[in-house]
Assembly symmetry: C2
Homo-oligomer: 413 residues x 2
């Protein structure tokens, strides 16, 4: 990709005092704020988001079937479960202009979560125990009328999310699947390059179950959650469920973290609301057990920036970097250098298809281009200039040293 | 993909009297209706939608940069352009429950189109003539509070769309890009396999321009639009702009069609509303010229079914079929046949990665499986059964004859 074809710019003057991720992602041209808690993903940002979601999709495909449910749904579905008055971030959709409103007073809900849609969906395909277990998931834009939208991509009104819903003959089968989901989640965080910094945290099961639910929390100093880790057992708890007894094993360390996934046994709460049952081997109707499992893909993007940056900019994990290679062309007014730079670009593209960002700007000075490459944060910077001649200068984003190599030497590394 | 892992079922009893596409897509398990004009894309349907959108993305990348704008945006943006009271399908988002509403009476708009978002976005990156032309596009779920939601995927409240917006120094430059877009659209319809059945139709430019806008219409007997084609010149017009003079060349044929794309010169309507200007070579502020270009990806899916089906089911163009091959396993209770069927499945997958749907249902009878394969409409049906032995029986969806081949013969075809 030619930098000039991104149609965005680095903004040196961009200011966001409230969070590091909004500051760096905004300055580097990954996102653009439309209102508090709502951002346009610009070409670089959309690449990162797509890579995160591809990794999630690839792993979740092993335990569920991908669907795409509507965001806007009949309000009656939410009346049915009684959540219309309890979920305070719920938005309703009505006609925007007065004339239409007079003719049409229908109300819809814009969904922050999809139990109210997936339960009646599953009901159409579940008759007997032979149809279970089954699981559907989607990767979708969600809306929460968030009163405290802040912290860039960490707490948004509109955000991206993977939500998975599973259906089972019994609580035991739900529990077994629930444990499998934990394994799959760990494999996702590993593929994203953030497993080491992530921990699983016991949280309240809410009204649905006496069991815990679980959060996956990434350690980030700027996170808005506090994790309590039992030093003896290594078990982590959120504040709500932290054991308060004063027994022997009650020594805890605390750290700040950001929630990037949660898994939740729903048991029969939603199947009861919708009358979702199955026929067991004896032909008797039994309630279906359910679980739900979320991962916030856009929030992961924000959390990564909070965690992986230095004073010069973002340091993307290779798994999700917008491009693996940032090719910086200097002295491009010189026809010889220009020809060499484009030749190197073509060679790099052959080896790394669709993974090379070529800073082809002619007016920008060397210092500016180096600063911008650091800010954008691709793993490898390759420079072609009058000085490098027929070689290229290579530097990892994380390193200080540069190496002068022939292009063949670089490609054969 | 194993059929049993789709977690959907063929529904013989599914009825939709209003449209062929809703009937066939619903029956075959591609979509599920949540309310009038809003559908869940089930695994098979999502595969088709993704393939259509991949083809669109691949082509549009040559003329624009992909972004993803928020769906829910501040109502003030729409007040600014005066469209709040004129676009009657516009939905507003407000808190859904009474308690929240008392504390928070903010209003947002859920966007049916994005001129109000992309114009201020472009404004951040356009300073001088050197920044032009530029173009942004997105592929996104859109919402229209459609009063006449009907005809399955042809007229939805919630639907998928590619929307592209371009920015130019002059009307001439806009016109040149506009012509390029026509070429790119033709290449998309060609890749989708529907170019032959699609025509370009002159339509009104609305309030923005005295020029025509253009619609791309696919000939479908069940389409809700009428196209007027001048028999002498071959030019097509919609009703609104059909020449009414009684001159020599006024001989028209009419046909029914479905609009699957439109392109629109916006000129300076939106740049004036937002004060979007650029500095020309003399440093003078000039208005930016704009165009917008839409393709309805989910509507294309519906139109394809209206057009490409027979009394047995859907006949997908190969470009967008959910799977290239539908492998049908019969007599799967027989261990020898079962082993053979899974071996064939693995061989097919090697040659057609991720493009084989294996009907692994054990209970379903042969007649049912053949009927279901016809209904789903993959281009090639491959059967393994007791009768085929070590060979496979191959049939194209479009053909009547079957051929008995060894798996090697099939793979080497």
């Amino acid at each position: 990709m030619l930098y000039s074809h991104l149609y965005t710019k680095i903004s040196k003057t961009h200011r966001d005092d409230f969070s590091i991720n909004a500051q760096l992602l905004g300055q580097a041209g990954f996102i653009d704020q439309v209102m508090a808690g709502a951002y346009t993903f610009l070409p670089l940002g959309l690449r990162v988001l797509n890579k995160i979601e591809s990794i999630i999709r690839d792993k979740i495909n092993s335990i569920g079937a991908e669907v795409l449910m509507p965001a806007v749904v009949p309000i009656e579905l939410w009346e049915r479960t009684g959540r219309l008055e309890t979920v305070d971030v719920l938005g309703q959709v009505t006609p925007a202009n007065a004339a239409t409103k007079l003719k049409n007073d229908s109300r819809y809900v814009i969904s922050p979560t999809h139990e109210e849609v997936v339960t009646p969906l599953a009901q159409k395909f579940i008759n007997s125990y032979k149809d279970l277990p089954c699981a559907y998931y989607q990767i979708q834009t969600k809306f929460r009328n968030e009163p405290r939208a802040k912290s860039g991509l960490l707490r948004c009104r509109e955000f991206r999310m993977k939500d998975l819903y599973s259906f089972h003959v019994s609580e035991e089968d739900l529990k077994a699947y629930y444990e499998t989901t934990k394994d799959v989640y760990w494999s996702i965080y590993e593929a994203l390059g953030i497993k080491e910094d992530t921990c699983i945290v016991k949280a309240s099961g809410g009204d649905f179950t006496k069991d815990y639910s679980h959060e996956f929390q990434i350690r980030v100093e700027t996170g808005e959650d506090t994790v309590y880790r039992n030093i003896t057992t290594g078990e982590c708890y959120n504040k709500e469920v932290m054991p308060s007894d004063s027994g022997e094993n009650n020594d805890y360390e605390t750290f700040k973290a950001c929630e990037i996934g949660n898994i939740f046994p729903l048991n029969t709460k939603f199947s009861q609301a919708f009358g979702l049952t199955y026929k067991d081997v004896n032909g008797e109707d039994k309630p279906v057990y359910m679980g739900c499992y979320g991962i916030g893909s856009s929030r992961i993007m924000g959390a990564m920036v909070e965690k992986y940056h230095d004073k010069y900019g973002i340091i993307w994990p290779e798994s999700v970097a917008p491009y693996k290679i940032n090719l910086v062309g200097l002295d491009l007014k010189d026809e010889v250098v220009k020809t060499q730079a484009y030749a190197v670009y073509e060679l790099l593209l052959k080896r790394y298809p669709n993974e090379v960002l070529f800073d082809d700007r002619i007016e920008a000075r060397a210092g500016e281009k180096f600063a911008d490459a650091d800010l954008i944060g691709c793993p490898i910077r390759v420079v072609v200039s009058k000085r490098t001649g027929e070689k290229v200068e290579v530097k990892n984003r994380n390193a200080k040293d540069t190496t002068l190599l022939t292009i063949e030497e670089f490609l054969n590394r």
